[in-house]
Subunit: 164 residues, 2 copies
């Protein structure tokens, strides 16, 4: 009775990604890091997060490879560590912009979005200051991908339910 095979929803990169960045504060920490925060106290002050939680989160993100600890020493100060986004962490900007756009569209302040993300191209390109957007597109070049037209297919690492 070979029922219709369904992709195991637990063996999925969305679930794995959420295991890393789905905890409360994690994405907000990454957002602040993208905006230039590097030090413990900076994250703490910007986010108003409790110290031990911030400590735990930073360690988790470092262990996951999203952040990297970098030693530094301010003049006349002892040496300390700060937190820098790895390439893996920088790549989360796409997710964050997607979330920002969604929030702006449906949950914004009545006055409008509070933050606009802009592209700051190199001087050579003519100082672009345009707003950055995230778009869904397919490899064939279709840039309008309506919700009904996307579907999931099993990839090489797929597991199926039912077939143990």
């Amino acid at each position: 009775m070979e029922a219709q095979r369904r992709i195991d929803p637990v063996n999925c990169s969305v679930a794995r990604a959420l295991a890393v960045v789905g905890e409360r504060w994690s994405l907000l920490i990454v957002r602040e890091a993208l905006d230039g925060a590097r030090r413990f106290g900076e994250f703490k002050a910007r986010l108003g997060i409790a110290g031990n939680l911030l400590s735990t989160r930073l360690n988790t993100l470092v262990a996951a490879g999203v952040l990297r600890r970098v030693p530094y020493q301010d003049p006349g100060e002892r040496h300390r560590f700060e937190y820098e986004l790895t390439e893996q962490g920088l790549d989360l900007r796409i997710t964050l912009v997607a979330l920002l756009e969604w929030g702006d569209k449906y949950l914004a302040d009545p006055q409008g979005p509070s933050v606009i993300v802009r592209h700051q191209a190199a001087e050579g390109d003519g100082a672009c200051e345009e707003q950055v957007r995230v778009v869904l597109e397919c490899s064939a070049g279709h840039t309008h991908v309506p919700p009904q037209s996307i579907h999931r297919t099993p990839g090489p690492g797929a597991r199926f339910l039912g077939s143990s």
Copy 2:
């Protein structure tokens, strides 16, 4: 002593978006809904989530406008409700694809991604089956937006720190 004005990080659409979909399971529920799940039992079976939590999450998502309750009645059954994504919920697909790509890139199964999202264009267009990707681009048409080149600017609804 007009210090450098900084955008209030709490008055931000990312934070607001996360307040709605940042709870554990919320995005996974939306993912299953995008994949066709509609009924309580379906979500429960696919995700292995406890009934009361699922119930709470569904209610939260309905209240937030991500899902909508739709009555239905199977032949020979009493009438029940199923959960359908609203347009607001459908728009989360961008965030989910972004998360999926990130997970595929950094956390995938050694065998490769388990799920590939494809575009299924209308027949008229010639049955596109290409993989769907999410890209960051700016309004000026630059499609390669490296991490260092994005920055946040205050929008119309911005609040600032320090100026009560």
